[in-house]
Symmetry: C2
Subunit: 360 residues, 2 copies
Amino acid sequence: MTSTRQPIFVILAEGKLGLETSKTAASVVRYLPDRVMAVIDSRHSGLTAQRVLGVGGGIPIVAALAEAMRVSGQPPQALLVGVANRGGTIPPEHRPVLFEAVEAGLDIWCGLHERLADDSELAAQALERGVRLVDLREPPADLPVGTGLALQTAGFRVLTVGTDCNVGKMTASLEIRRALTECGVNARFAGTGQSGIVIDGAGIPVDAVVSDFVSGATERITLQAAEGADVVLVEGQGSLFHPGYSAVTLGLLHGAMPNAMILCWMPGRKRIYAGGYDWLEIPSPVRAIEAYEEAMRWAAPQLNSRVIALSANTYDQSEEEARRLVEEAGRATGLPSTDPVRFGAEPLAEAVEEARRAAD
Amino acid sequence: MTSTRQPIFVILAEGKLGLETSKTAASVVRYLPDRVMAVIDSRHSGLTAQRVLGVGGGIPIVAALAEAMRVSGQPPQALLVGVANRGGTIPPEHRPVLFEAVEAGLDIWCGLHERLADDSELAAQALERGVRLVDLREPPADLPVGTGLALQTAGFRVLTVGTDCNVGKMTASLEIRRALTECGVNARFAGTGQSGIVIDGAGIPVDAVVSDFVSGATERITLQAAEGADVVLVEGQGSLFHPGYSAVTLGLLHGAMPNAMILCWMPGRKRIYAGGYDWLEIPSPVRAIEAYEEAMRWAAPQLNSRVIALSANTYDQSEEEARRLVEEAGRATGLPSTDPVRFGAEPLAEAVEEARRAAD
């Protein structure tokens, strides 16, 4: 999958490159391999993306920006920041790399809460060198309060939801889009987070929106993506079970007003993701389905929005164990169940098509 | 109830003064009557606040700022903006009043999403006249992602929740604080919205916080208010059933981590508040209780947070009908039930004290 809208990237993932530890880097490598000429992580210098991430083919991993600039092939046009501290700030030790990139004539793309444009020194240097600082997490200024307008789209709305954050909601949405597109369905993706926006070239970073406007922002991108589409795949965020991000998740539910939901989960993860939540167990898919369907009944009881399939992320399991976990969850919930990356997204696409036919 | 932290206000409520139509104006008149010298609404010019709102005693309602400046007694020190368009902008027809106030040497206090400081013309004139523009909805810049830290407060955490927005959550919290304080309990209020912040002189406007930080902001004010307190009364916002504001509400639940909740409702209102939601019925108290207790189980199953009492807003009902509705809801839910403004907050305060004893 390539796009002409994105520049050729070097991705900064120093000290973090991994499927779980640098989501943006890993997903841009997965979905825009032709736009990535190198990834910076000195821990894996000399290896390929394929070797470290299982995707990305021969994209080289390098120790520093200077080394990336010497890699043969298409010259890079932008540095994509793929590392963050908790809360979305740029780790101070990586700030010099941004200056180095500007000096080398690269634009900088960044999807963190901390804005490049707010760094006056960096902004001044970018101006002088004539390069752009692209803050992907800058939402539009004129967002509305949500009013349920998404209920009126002609296209069928599908939202990915999760037992936790960082379990594969964007990936599931993109894989379902691919599978539907291959069947001739006009399926569109509505990006709601930094990675999805880089990959699709459009969207609104809803977690950067002032909380009164989260559902309104989601409503707007759902309506935009729905124009002329048979199916709109809205990228989910966070989880109703995550104490830090549940607000964003509920805003997405009530803004997107999904006709159907796909539950994303990670069988190998037992506690809520990242630091500070060791006391909180991740619910089973059965329990999570109850919660999401209940939350949709609050703002749209007439919609009868249901979870129609399960999308697992089993990258940390053996193939045999992965198959067992996926099948067991399918039996427990009575729903189609797959790992779309490992075993294909067709069961999810078929579930969407079946639900769409049933709703007609 | 007075405070020395607030200036003497003139409140701008032109065309909107009413318990439901200008919440900030009505609640500041109710809780800070000694700090309000006049209210502007030409529709009711010549009447008193008591006559129009049922609170505020002899506070005069005037037709224009010039008239307010001539009212005898304490001269005003600030104009409080108590009118808004949907989405939180200042109606353009009222902008001249702000300039008039600045010219008269008044500070301006405003709790809308639109910032006074972003109006360069107004900011320049304020600077020249040496008056302050106070944007109440400007959140702190360094908010954390929520991590459930509020679970650790020594004080008992009580959150007001609602079947809809604008049903009396702030009022319930303030009335419970008063009733508990009268019994010698050290009860503190944690303000989360513009009116609560004006009245209490502290707080964070959580609906103006970027959505990733809503629960973190709530966590911070809960922890601050909890220091040395027996009971923390966290002001609720919005409703899980409101498609526009449900995100804010869930962030509050998972940030405040309430030990107990008070459900606020308005028996006379049948459809979700304000424009655009005519298709959406407000749930019964029984149904709303289910929803709030379920939402708390998602992020804190061990807490067993329950709704412990009902607080009705019956200002639009006859006294007889109000009593009937309050009693009926009490029977249907098996919970203490009152209208704290009309019939006293004691049943709510007693429910808090009983739940606190049971948790010890």
